[in-house]
Symmetry: C2
Subunit: 217 residues, 2 copies
């Protein structure tokens, strides 16, 4: 995959809600009833909360998985950054994330929870990409044509990241930025959204070169 | 307050997103930059995730506060059910919840975090009710006329709870249930939503008396 150009898809709040509801229905249709739901941070926070709503389930906690660049490794290694603060021994566990991509995050979470001698442990995501090395027990949607999914709770951060990438080559006007985002990442940004993204890039002092330009145009 | 009748307000995903964005802007406008964001479970999971998006902040974790009925106490006592699993000593902390009602949850979370010798600790909610005994450092909206706010991530559970209440008196048809929800809780449910709620109540075997009735109508 060329990191400078790949297809993206923006998901709306209503779409994310429907996907989370479908995930919850899949879990409800099974015989599995978790003692504890664990959201993988940060992507699993919203779907896990929605799943708990539809399961009428109160016990929700979180772990944070991070990806570290390890020298000589082909890809970053997923590891637990914030562990669990509750005893899960012999408890049935439902781990929730937004999406499987490589599958590394879900695998790290599963291995971690199993290392704590949890009971039956199952995983659920809204969207399962067939590129993933792990197949979750529950999912609402399968993605066969790989694309980067931008969920509404990560939209600002993702758009800042992509805009930073299209800006890294040379000076650009607002129109050029919009054109590149569309060409390289199939992203169409409205004016307010672009302003907020550029404001943040400016604040981060990573876009100093456009400081004068984009205000004028 | 009469527990059998009070005004409710359903908040849409778009409204909740806007409120969370406004909360994030209030935080960004201040000089406060947290080392760690803590979502209070379960209500704070979604707003905390959105706030992290707009702050471009990666370090998000959660605690769970529960309310316990203590004999001889006028109201339930808020206590930490799932503690933190990370060291917060001398770290600046931002605690996020959806709403302040009595303020007990936020107070319990603050006292807990302070007991761990955290550094500067601030609190933020989407909506601050003036009934709260704690005023958060950041909020997007003030509610002066008390009402129960139903956030989209808690809608199913809240509606199941309210429907259970209006069903507890006597047998009722779908139309009677809808009329009572409107009269007692200012709630207007569509047919699909009511079906899902009643299905869950049936499954919970708390609504056995309506089992025959509502299927027919």
């Amino acid at each position: 995959m060329n990191p400078r150009s790949f297809p993206c898809q923006l998901i709306s709040w209503d779409e994310a809600y429907q996907l989370s509801r479908m995930l919850a229905r899949a879990i409800k249709s099974s015989s599995f009833r978790p003692d504890l739901v664990i959201a993988i941070g940060r992507g699993g926070f919203v779907p896990a909360r929605i799943v708990c709503d539809f399961l009428l389930h109160s016990l929700l906690t979180s772990i944070k998985i991070e990806h570290w660049d390890i020298a000589a490794c082909k890809r970053p290694e997923a590891a637990v950054r914030f562990p669990l603060a509750v005893d899960v021994q012999d408890q049935s566990i439902l781990i929730i994330d937004d999406v499987t991509d490589t599958g590394d995050t879900l695998r790290a979470a599963l291995n971690y929870v199993k290392s704590l001698e949890a009971g039956e442990t199952k995983t659920g995501v809204m969207q399962h990409k067939t590129t993933s090395s792990v197949v979750p027990d529950f999912y609402a949607d399968v993605i066969m044509d790989w694309r980067w999914i931008i969920y509404p709770w990560a939209a600002h951060e993702d758009l800042v990241g992509f805009t930073e990438k299209v800006l890294s080559v040379e000076l650009a006007t607002r129109e050029q930025i919009r054109a590149r985002l569309k060409e390289q990442y199939t992203l169409v940004l409205d004016e307010n959204c672009l302003t907020e993204v550029l404001d943040d890039l400016m604040e981060m002092k990573k876009a100093e070169k456009i400081q004068e330009k984009y205000r004028k145009i």
